[in-house]
């Protein structure tokens, strides 16, 4: 059941370079939410009309030092909405609609989750990391890329909680210089595809690259997609992505209800 709640900001921590970790508490939503699902977050009194979609980053228990029923959103200031969000202090009111979308399929117990994150695309991975551990998966291997070092929020957390952490930055300020697909391709080389599953979240060009690696090679691969959303719960049909339909023709699939996580091979991009 999707709930529409008014919550108050518990914390809104600046992580540098426009990245923020927002914490609020909402027991009922928290109790039903899965990694990879998202909220529509509204900012009353801001003059911003539509709510904005954000993945759940932390579920209760994800971050050691956060209170019991608290939820976290990791976001980056991109435009007007996130600008307003970044200015909110403790106690400010938000409207939160969720849980929304399908969430990730947690790989089986013998399967290593291979996370690929581009910048703020790392947002859903903390909650997912915990779920993978709970499901008995091997420790995740994470490939984390961004424009520069300042755009790798929560890097230390991932370092502590992933089995391997490979970083790449376009300007070389952290990890390998270049795109995250570089170290990923080397890692994949010669490895048995039944032992791992790719999971990617990040900007569209990165997702395209991952899809182009995974699909021809027949690798299992979940992609977490983004789209402009008006409603977030399936009624505006605004958030579609082209997919392979049953009849072979292109279908338009709503990211907000049939996604945001879709198998790479479904996409007709």
């Amino acid at each position: 059941m999707i709930l529409d709640k008014t919550v108050n900001v518990v914390a809104n921590e600046a992580l540098g370079n426009g990245n923020f970790l927002l914490t609020f508490a909402e027991e009922t939503i928290a109790g039903e939410m899965l990694p990879g699902q998202f909220f529509m977050v509204g900012m009353p009194g801001s003059g911003i009309l539509l709510r904005r979609p954000f993945s759940v980053c932390g579920l209760p228990g994800t971050f050691d030092d956060s209170p019991g029923d608290s939820l976290q959103v990791l976001y980056k200031v991109m435009g007007q909405g996130t600008q307003v969000l970044s200015g909110l202090g403790t106690g400010a009111a938000l409207t939160v609609l969720g849980p929304l979308g399908n969430g990730f399929t947690v790989p089986g117990p013998e399967v290593t989750p291979v996370f690929v994150a581009g910048g703020i695309g790392s947002a859903p991975y903390p909650a997912l990391t915990r779920a993978c551990a709970a499901a008995g998966c091997p420790d995740p291997v994470m490939f984390y890329g961004a424009r520069s070092a300042a755009d790798l929020p929560l890097l230390d957390w991932f370092d502590d909680h992933c089995g391997e952490l490979h970083t790449a930055t376009e300007d070389g300020s952290a990890g390998e210089q270049g795109l995250v697909t570089g170290p990923l391709l080397r890692w994949l080389e010669g490895r048995d595809p039944t032992t791992y599953e790719l999971i990617a979240c990040g900007p569209d060009p990165m997702l395209h690259a991952i899809r182009n690696i995974a699909v021809p090679a027949g690798l299992r691969c979940q992609l977490s997609l983004e789209a402009h959303m008006a409603c977030g719960f399936g009624v505006c049909i605004g958030c579609v992505v082209p997919t392979h339909g049953e009849d072979g023709a292109v279908d338009y699939t709503r990211i907000c209800v049939d996604g945001p996580v879709l198998p790479a091979e479904k996409l007709a991009w």
Partner: protein, 309 residues
């Protein structure tokens, strides 16, 4: 305190209150049962239905603008047959009026859709969308050319016995002319407005944000324009009017009622707050009670003009 009488009627349809939901912003209604009790609504208008299902436009399809949003969904829908088979039976369980919003790429397609709806049990009326600005075939020509408008209404009028509400496009020089055309062609009521044509540009990529280039503007931004057109149409024709455009709360509803609407539709607000339409019913009831207004009908067309000096 006496509970105010919220009932109203449009095109021979009796509504328990004047709050309907607008086409394309409320799905087929059933998507909202998590958020509100459909029985609270005066009525609901379905997503625009065509005789055959449609896939719509490529993404991006929506973008926010100041106090509004542009959409270019391209009338993606499940088609009348699937609606009748899968959605309508479930909707019959609710005590609210279901209006089927209908469009076609051609006059024939309009007639086909109307005929398919027949006198389907549970469909209280048809709203003809002659005003969608999103696709070449979406009816733009019907909505902005008086002769074409008259003709498509006339043939639909013949194709169905259901009450016929014609939804006008605001993208015209003379909305009164279009309203008179619609009335003369046999419309039982007029609803307005559909969206205004607009465009947003991604200045970094130097491209339209929407794949369709242009889209339809909805939301609070257009409310003053929609209220004006409602008032204009109220003065031009005597058939009832359903007011639409940027309604977010009971105050906004009253604005449209005073301007001459007998009922209203809540659109974009349902995206912002899924329970908006039902909330507005409660708010309207309170608004009337607080002012000791016993019936919503007192407000319809109740605008007083200042003395001309």
């Amino acid at each position: 305190m006496v509970t105010p009488d919220l009932t109203t009627s449009v095109a021979g349809i009796d509504f328990k209150n004047p709050i309907l939901t607008a086409s394309g912003t409320f799905g087929y209604g059933l998507e909202f049962t998590d958020f509100l009790d459909l029985n609270r609504l005066g009525g609901l208008v379905t997503k625009g239905l065509s005789a055959k299902p449609r896939k719509g436009n490529p993404p991006a399809r929506v973008v926010e603008t100041p106090a509004g949003m542009l959409n270019a969904i391209g009338l993606q829908n499940i088609g009348v047959p699937v609606f009748l088979e899968e959605k309508l039976p479930k909707l019959r369980a609710y005590d609210t009026k279901v209006i089927a919003n209908v469009f076609g790429a051609t006059e024939v397609a309009y007639v086909e859709a109307c005929e398919m709806l027949g006198e389907a049990e549970g469909v209280a009326g048809i709203e003809l969308n002659v005003s969608c600005p999103n696709t070449e075939e979406g009816g733009m020509i019907f909505g902005t050319d008086p002769a074409a408008l008259g003709h498509v209404i006339r043939i639909c009028r013949e194709a169905t016995k259901l009450p016929l509400i014609v939804k006008l496009s605001p993208n015209v020089t003379d909305i009164q002319l279009m309203a008179r055309c619609a009335r003369d062609a046999g419309a039982d009521a007029i609803s307005l407005v559909n969206t205004f044509v607009g465009m947003a540009i991604d200045v970094e990529r130097r491209r339209p944000v929407l794949a369709n280039v242009c889209g339809g503007l909805s939301g609070p931004a257009i409310r003053p324009l929609a209220v004006w057109m409602t008032w204009q149409v109220h003065q031009a024709v005597e058939i009832p009017i359903i007011g639409i455009g940027g309604i977010m709360n009971a105050r906004d509803v009253v604005e449209f009622l005073l301007a001459g609407a007998s009922a209203v539709q809540v659109g974009t607000a349902s995206f912002v707050t899924p329970s908006a339409s039902a909330n507005i019913v409660t708010e309207l009831e309170d608004w009337l009670s607080e002012r000791k207004i016993t019936s919503v009908r007192e407000l319809i067309g109740g605008l007083e003009l200042p003395p001309r000096g």
